[in-house]
Symmetry: C2
Subunit: 438 residues, 2 copies
């Protein structure tokens, strides 16, 4: 049997190569053929669609990654794909949602046509194979939504959450993300900014927080370095593939982060960082961490983009003030004045800002089933159930209308999906709405 | 005829000596005997009561300064004074208000007894005469509530507004107070703090704002200096008499402020600054200016007291951030974090904070009748009318309930007083409440 024209055993081997690691996952089974196809398809989509492509996210959610890849591969027309989606949904399956706006059928087909024109020129199965091989060589693994290691907070990105994530490093670093604070700032940092970042990062690690940043020169680099020096957890989100470290001057630093923490990207191995990918990478930094703090930033610093994402997601946002005579702090003061960022001056205030308490240092967070098979496919959930589950939080209960808004589904669809998830025992109703049980 | 046992002509001369200035006030008449007695009595009260003594303010408002002084001088009992107040008010004159709390008759008499015990040991008419003579020697003048030069914003202090103010300098500086910004901060200022203060003060003067401060070493001194260097208006509020400059190291600076601006105090000539008087002086700085900005302050700086007064009065409050590594800026960051102070980084943002626009530089604000005779006594107003008038603003209309709260009078008393003031043409009713006409 063949998958996308590739030998089934080959696809299974490739999938196993990016989901299992030698000496780890004791009882975990290698992925079966169906799961392997799913892994391969999601991996392919990370190369087809640019980060944050909501239409790709929608297609994968509606049809599953395999079928979605198949219809692009087999050059289906937009109309035929649209028809398949409606057929899958059945009667009363709700309107097709395109992220922000709801369009009628024709509008959707036009949008889909544009998507197909973006994706088709990029679909070379050989390249997908090469990126999976490259990933295996550097021990990079693929993480899918729903996996035990998947950062649950990314669900807040709704249709814009990554289709999959590539990562290298220690799983403990990923599991620490719910108790992480993003420390970001300018590449052109001053001595003051670097000093404050070092103190903040070390102080937060001492309090059990993980440090998230972007591995750039200046503030980002100092945040990671101080976390490593403090034996803290640290996670770097990259704008290109995790096999090629950028900036090159931080190759040694990123190597150390892989050894003691984790590097993550939604781009496949071999992908170069671009302006767009940096901006989209910033949304992951903001979404994955419990709070974002800008330590030093000029008036137009790229770190203000990360701050904007944090604010848009409702994440706590802090900024460290500096001398008003220093242009390197002008962006921080701007965040405090115009974007309601909280003025934070030390690690203790940043910890307070985050509003979460890390588990006591030294305690091990129990790890569940880390096999990649635990995806929506593996659980046999409908696409509505997957979207609704993604829209739920463990911590706070959400009303049905809120879940509908987050998932982009109709109220009827949300209620239907919640029923199924309830039978599965993974959601529960509270007075103020629905939440995940775990 | 004698006033408080003093020769009437002597009292009239003393009063004239602190209300008129050679070569000024062309058509203004010297105060008549009644006005002179009133001026003498208010001057005496500035020495009897400590700044912010709400009970003294109440007594002076209820009985007029002359009678209030007479009953203290003649050693009346608290009961007899209380009886006189009730008699003056007549039936339905409202409860006696002691600032924050309302007490019954007995409570009021106890409080009054305590006041008499505070004031009587200080009442030496010779000393009042000496302070008036000293004031005349340094060309200091006495300003009474209701005078054209009286800073109207002090009315927001209600029962705690000064009984009178002593001042030296140019009347233009007093008239500029509605367009003033208080720039305050630590005595132990850093180079950074002084630099930022200089830029702020000069920039605000360029925009037509007057600079209010406390003439202390460090930030205060720099604020005044930069205003003088920019040919701007500047007003220093002192915690002791205006005849003795404090700190002594700022004698030259204060001399220049008198020449080009103004120094003000609610203490009579000869009075020394005390801790209490500094704290009470801070309330005048906050109340007299349109906004207060703290430029550099340690965690426990006295300038935070001024900021607290500004916040309590609902005045816009700003703080300039600095390096988080500098303890000299810790108070500013505290104000931003805990007291909702706005983070301001330059003169333009401070001007915006103030929410008022100064008249264009070079324009002269027309000065009305500057003779001190224009007091409540001169106008023949009842005490209720005086208190209600004080509680009104020219800029914003206030509902009757708000006026009652500000003046400490009952709704009935406020309505009665507004009627009288309306006939006088000095107040008017708008849709949202009552305001002064001028």
């Amino acid at each position: 049997m063949r998958i996308f024209g590739l030998d089934e055993a080959r696809v299974m081997a490739l999938a196993a190569g990016v989901t299992m690691r030698v000496g780890e996952g004791g009882g975990a089974e290698p992925p079966d053929a169906a799961t392997a196809a799913h892994i391969f398809a999601r991996a392919a989509w990370t190369g087809l669609a640019e980060p944050g492509d909501g239409l790709a996210g929608l297609l994968v959610t509606e049809l599953g990654a395999v079928t979605a890849l198949q219809v692009v591969h087999d050059s289906w027309t937009a109309r035929r794909i649209s028809g398949l989606i409606r057929q899958r949904r059945g009667v009363g399956g709700g309107e097709l949602d395109l992220g922000q706006s709801r369009g009628d059928e024709e509008e959707f087909e036009t949008t889909l046509q544009q998507g197909l024109e973006r994706w088709r020129p990029r679909l070379f199965l050989d390249e997908v194979v090469r990126s999976l091989e490259a990933a295996h060589r550097v021990a990079a693994r693929l993480l899918l939504p729903g996996d035990a290691l998947w950062p649950p907070a990314l669900g807040d990105l709704a249709a814009h959450q990554p289709i999959a994530l590539w990562w290298r490093g220690e799983s403990a670093a990923l599991l620490a993300l719910p108790y992480s604070i993003a420390l970001v700032g300018s590449r052109a940092a001053t001595q003051y900014g670097e000093h404050v970042t070092m103190e903040a990062s070390a102080g937060l690690c001492d309090r059990g927080f993980a440090i998230v940043s972007g591995a750039a020169y200046g503030i980002d680099g100092m945040a990671h370095r101080a976390a490593l020096a403090s034996n803290g957890q640290t996670v770097a989100f990259l704008a290109g593939g995790v096999d090629r470290f950028y900036p090159t001057g931080h190759e040694a630093l990123l190597t150390r982060i892989v050894q003691a923490g984790a590097v993550i990207s939604e781009l496949p191995c071999g992908a170069s960082p671009t302006k767009w990918r940096f901006l989209q990478r910033n949304r992951l930094i903001a979404a994955a961490s419990a709070a974002t703090v800008v330590l030093e930033a000029g008036w137009r610093s790229g770190s203000l983009n990360t701050a904007g994402h944090a604010a848009a997601l409702g994440r706590p946002l802090g900024a460290v003030p500096g001398p008003v005579t220093s242009p390197a702090s002008a962006g921080c003061h701007r965040l405090i004045r115009e974007y309601d960022a909280e003025c934070v001056t030390n690690a203790s205030e940043m910890a307070e800002l985050a509003g979460v308490r890390p588990v006591a240092a030294g305690l091990t967070i129990p790890v569940g089933d880390t096999a990649t098979g635990l995806t929506e496919a593996g659980l046999g959930r409908t696409s509505d159930q997957v979207r609704v589950f993604d829209a739920l939080s463990v911590r706070s209960a959400r009303p049905v209308a809120d879940i509908a808004r987050r998932s982009g589904l109709s109220l009827t669809s949300v209620r239907g999906a919640l029923g199924g998830l309830g039978l599965e025992g993974v959601v529960r109703e509270r007075a103020s709405g629905w939440s995940r049980t775990t």
